[in-house]
């Protein structure tokens, strides 16, 4: 069984990763653009986790950036300041701890749904934002710096040097690929089918004996810890964390990107992130007031593009909607 839902997805994914592999060769030495691509790929991981959560479970969160920020903070707080730690070990720690936090937060927010859940996730994310912005211990508004980047050896063998932009780029690309495959496997598993059923008709799923709350909680924890992983990569790339990573507009922008790509399509998250960031980069160069045009674009998008770019591509290639 193919993991692809339709032909356009298959073509897009092959093309994207094939081009992605060779991008650094074309940009030889131009670290600015290699870094830019790494940043967008990290963003795509974050958006993908949100895309799964919102698009597949139908639960709308406006506080996803909370976990993005927490990923960075968890690493920075745990790792000793002047010692290189192991990247893979800390990946495990970051995802485990953020997953545990997501479990507790999920127990509160998943008691509600719809508009209530939107407001509560936003308020809790804002609470975390203020917690870090006001804490002297964690650097307040300025955040914390990462002085030594982790090393990446597995059993004494090291392939990647995180201080090297190209190496870091490939790490991000690999992470995005793994993330995509992970979500695809989940969607095609029996767990994923139950999640789809819950979105389609919660009452019927309950009648069939599934505990909606448990399934939603698992999806919430999975998506949140992947968001934290993206935040961890972001912190490593820039060498610092600060509260603005979890501000409300990060969550809102990620939702816009997911919608732009096509909610619930997973690969749409990659399209959405690249298209949005590309437009952002372009408009920002034209005018300081780029937010005005992004705002107008979002409104037009909501009113016109119902199934996102993924749906648009799918229509072009003559496929059915998944």
């Amino acid at each position: 069984m193919s993991i692809f839902a339709n032909k356009s997805e298959k073509i897009f994914i092959y093309l994207f990763f094939a081009i992605g592999l060779f991008i650094p060769l074309f940009l030889e030495g131009n670290t600015f653009y290699i870094n830019k691509f790494s940043t967008i790929i990290i963003l795509a991981i974050f958006v993908m986790s949100l895309d799964y959560l919102v698009g597949r479970t139908g639960l709308i969160t406006l506080g996803h950036a909370m976990f993005y920020g927490l990923g960075g903070y968890i690493f920075t707080i745990l790792a000793p300041e002047y010692e290189a730690v192991n990247f893979w070990v800390y990946t495990f720690y970051v995802m485990l701890i953020s997953g545990f936090i997501a479990l507790i937060v999920g127990l509160i927010v998943l008691r509600t749904s719809g508009i209530y859940m939107i407001m509560i996730t936003l308020a809790l994310a804002q609470m975390t934002f203020y917690f870090f912005a006001d804490s002297i211990e964690y650097g307040g508004q300025d955040g914390l710096f990462i002085y030594i980047k982790p090393e990446t050896s597995i059993f004494g063998l090291s392939f990647l040097d995180l201080d090297n932009e190209t190496h870091f780029y490939y790490l991000c690309l690999l992470s995005l690929f793994n993330c995509f495959v992970f979500f695809k496997i989940i969607m095609n598993s029996s767990f994923g089918r139950v999640i789809d059923a819950l979105k389609e008709n919660p009452d019927r799923a309950t009648a069939l004996g599934y505990n909606i709350f448990h399934f939603r909680l698992i999806a919430y924890v999975l998506a949140s810890s992947l968001a934290a992983y993206a935040g961890y990569l972001f912190a490593l790339q820039f060498g610092f964390v600060n509260p603005s990573m979890m501000s409300w507009d990060v969550s809102a922008t990620a939702l816009v990107m997911a919608l732009l790509g096509g909610l619930g399509s997973i690969y749409g998250a990659i399209i959405g992130s690249f298209v949005y960031e590309g437009l952002h980069y372009f408009i920002e160069h034209l005018t300081e007031y780029w937010m005005f045009f992004m705002g107008a674009l979002i409104i037009v998008l909501v009113l016109t593009l119902k199934y996102g770019m993924a749906g648009f591509l799918n229509n072009l290639s003559g496929g059915k909607r998944s």
């Binding site: 919102v54 308020a123 912005a133």
Partner: protein
């Protein structure tokens, strides 16, 4: 904390709570009647404050600025409902969130284009600039009492409008059964426009009257919006009575927390919200 400080903080808390009510009531009214969550509600607060600044500087009269800004806010409300919100009635929550986020972006960019990013201030109108002596040593600014009084007047007139007038009857009917109201021959689209414009007006009104006591900075709208969310979540979404009670609780808790527990002051209202949600997931006054 001695008694006089306690009293002043209580007055501050009530004043802040009443102001929050003014904003939250608009949010909850629009949601209750129209089923729309307007995230750009906080932006209207911001726009109100900046308009008040602009027209006070232009006309040298706060009263004139008050009237002009209020009218502009009403017009903005009507335009937004007629051209944008009208497309959302049959859409899901996500589209509402995204469209109103787009509006926030537009309002923020407009604010930064027209007024810049430096903090601005408005002078307290001369007539209300004095202080009242509460006890031998404690004074309280008249303007803050004026805000409280104004908010109370608005709350009372809202109560009267909703419970005693024809418009209020339609609003109440719209809250309980939209389709039925339409079938009974009420022009629901006109009602929606009126309600949305009132909601926007209430937020802007709060912005206008608080302009002299806060500093006008970019992002002030979002901050207020999130406090309002806490208020309506605690009070129960769609319930104006709930918003009133919750706004007072939030105002008082927030004010005392910043005096008594400065370490967690900015988190206090969110903790309060989380606690209440654990006990009552639908808020104190479920509509």
């Amino acid at each position: 904390m001695d008694t006089s400080l306690f009293l002043v903080q209580l007055l501050n808390g009530v004043q802040y709570g009443l102001l929050l009510f003014l904003i939250a009531s608009g949010l909850t009214l629009v949601f209750g009647v129209m089923g729309i969550l307007n995230l750009a509600h906080g932006s209207m607060y911001m726009i109100g404050a900046y308009l008040a600044y602009y027209f006070t500087t232009l006309t040298d009269s706060f009263l004139l600025a008050f009237i002009i800004s209020g009218t502009i806010a009403l017009v903005i409300g009507i335009i937004i409902e007629r051209f944008l919100i009208i497309h959302l009635y049959k859409r899901d929550h996500l589209d509402q969130v995204l469209l109103t986020v787009g509006l926030i972006f537009i309002f923020n960019a407009t604010q930064s284009y027209v007024w810049g990013n430096d903090p601005l201030g408005v002078e307290v109108p001369e007539l209300l600039s004095g202080s009242i002596r509460l006890t031998d040593i404690v004074e309280y600014p008249v303007y803050r009492l004026f805000i409280s009084l104004l908010c109370l007047v608005v709350a009372a007139s809202m109560y009267f409008t909703i419970n005693k007038t024809r418009l209020g009857m339609m609003i109440r009917a719209g809250e309980s059964d939209r389709a039925m109201v339409e079938n009974l021959g009420v022009d629901i689209s006109k009602l929606f426009t009126i309600v949305f414009a009132i909601g926007v007006f209430l937020a802007s009104l709060a912005g206008i009257v608080s302009a002299p006591i806060v500093s006008l900075v970019p992002g002030m709208g979002e901050h207020v919006l999130i406090s309002c969310f806490v208020v309506v979540v605690i009070g129960g979404l769609g319930s104006i009575k709930g918003a009133f009670v919750a706004a007072l609780i939030v105002g008082i808790v927030d004010t005392y927390a910043s005096v008594l527990l400065p370490q967690i002051s900015s988190m206090s209202i969110y903790l309060l919200m989380a606690l209440i949600l654990l006990v009552k997931p639908q808020g104190l006054f479920k509509n």
